[in-house]
Amino acid sequence: MASLDDLKKRIASVKSTQKITKAMKMVAAAKLRRAQESAEKGRPYSEKMNNVILNLSNGVSDKENAPKLLSGTGQEKTHLCVVMTSDRGLCGGFNSNIIKKAKSYFAKILDEGKELKIITVGSKGNDQLKRVYGDKIIENISFKESKNANYFDADKVGKMVIEKFEAGEFDICTIFYNQFKNVITQIPQAQQIIPLNNEGEENSSEESYEFEPDEDEILSNLLPKNISTQIFKAMLENSASEQGSRMSAMDNATRNAGEMVDKLTIEYNRSRQAAITKELIEIISGAESL
């Protein structure tokens, strides 16, 4: 059995761990509020963007010559996956959930004999993927310096993706991120962004628009912007999810630490009692023998 001194030390160390997790929980809660707010504020832009593109793509008469970003290259050989994770750990299942989702998708693609390329955004995803898929990762981006998700960063990723698309490096692009539902639930998402997938949201607005200049030109200007917008949306959702996930993970950790302190304290008291009893017995039996 551990000595009294050891127990005392352990209790102290668990208590200080608890202090840290508690502080992290508070910080995450404060950041969560901000991240959630900006995720909500960012929604009108991506919604409007989606609307305009939907209207436009309905108006495109000549589907054959539509921009490639909309209709695809006509092949499905090379898949590019953009896996978006956080730069910091200690946030529960946040990163593992995305990775799990991504890995099952990767396995499916490789089973079909297709080519796979990966871009990781955020260092944690890179750490987890490079062991198995190290040779597939073509790019690794991390925004450790920027405090909050900002459009400028998203635009950088977007431009890179488009550059690679135009160079013919891939046919289909999918982004992986966590959608923020509430503090306890985040849903890992796989969203295809190239070619644009708007089946199922058939919008029956018969509104006819005037275009200036023509549809094709607007579309070819708009579609790259839409990529950045979608990535930005994913980043906002991700940062809200990360804080939410961290908050509940740290809440759990604090509670577990509390339980552990209780258990250790009982053990400590018991062994202290045992030591006292032992001493007493020794004294009494010593006195009796006289």
Binding site: Y209, P213, F232
Partner: protein
């Protein structure tokens, strides 16, 4: 009948401006400035660098934009843009910074014609502001 309509400017981070007593908006559309009044036909167009003028009862406002899309439908004008500044809040040093950036970009040789055109526009607009 009133001659006012609603304008909404959003950028990726937030909804930048909502105004519903606007009488006229002049936007720097790609093929030239475009004035929009109430009951304009539905239109989608994109912007080049320039000044958005918003004329309304509660006062006129001017904004500097670098890019964006305008959509007008049912007397709702939506402007989506990633870079927008209120001219009233923009001081000289900010202008100089933007101008310097734009000029640097314009002097690059490896850009295509369209972005060259846009950058030149940017430089011109920023120069007229000074």
């Amino acid at each position: 009948m009133s001659e006012e309509f609603k304008v909404e400017i959003v950028n990726p981070e937030k909804s930048f401006l909502v105004k519903d007593d606007v009488s006229e908006v002049v936007v720097p559309a790609f093929e030239g400035e475009m004035g929009i009044l109430k009951d304009h036909i539905s239109i989608i167009s994109f912007l080049k660098p320039g000044i958005i003028k918003i004329l309304s009862k509660s006062g006129d406002e001017n904004y500097y934009v670098e890019d964006g899309i305008v959509e007008f439908k049912n007397n709702n004008l939506s402007i989506l843009t990633s870079t927008i500044f209120n001219l009233a809040d923009m001081d000289k040093s900010k202008q100089q910074d933007l101008l310097k950036q734009a000029e640097e970009e314009a002097n690059k040789t490896d850009i295509n014609d369209q972005s060259k055109y846009l950058v030149d526009q940017k430089v011109e607009v920023l120069k007229t502001l000074n």
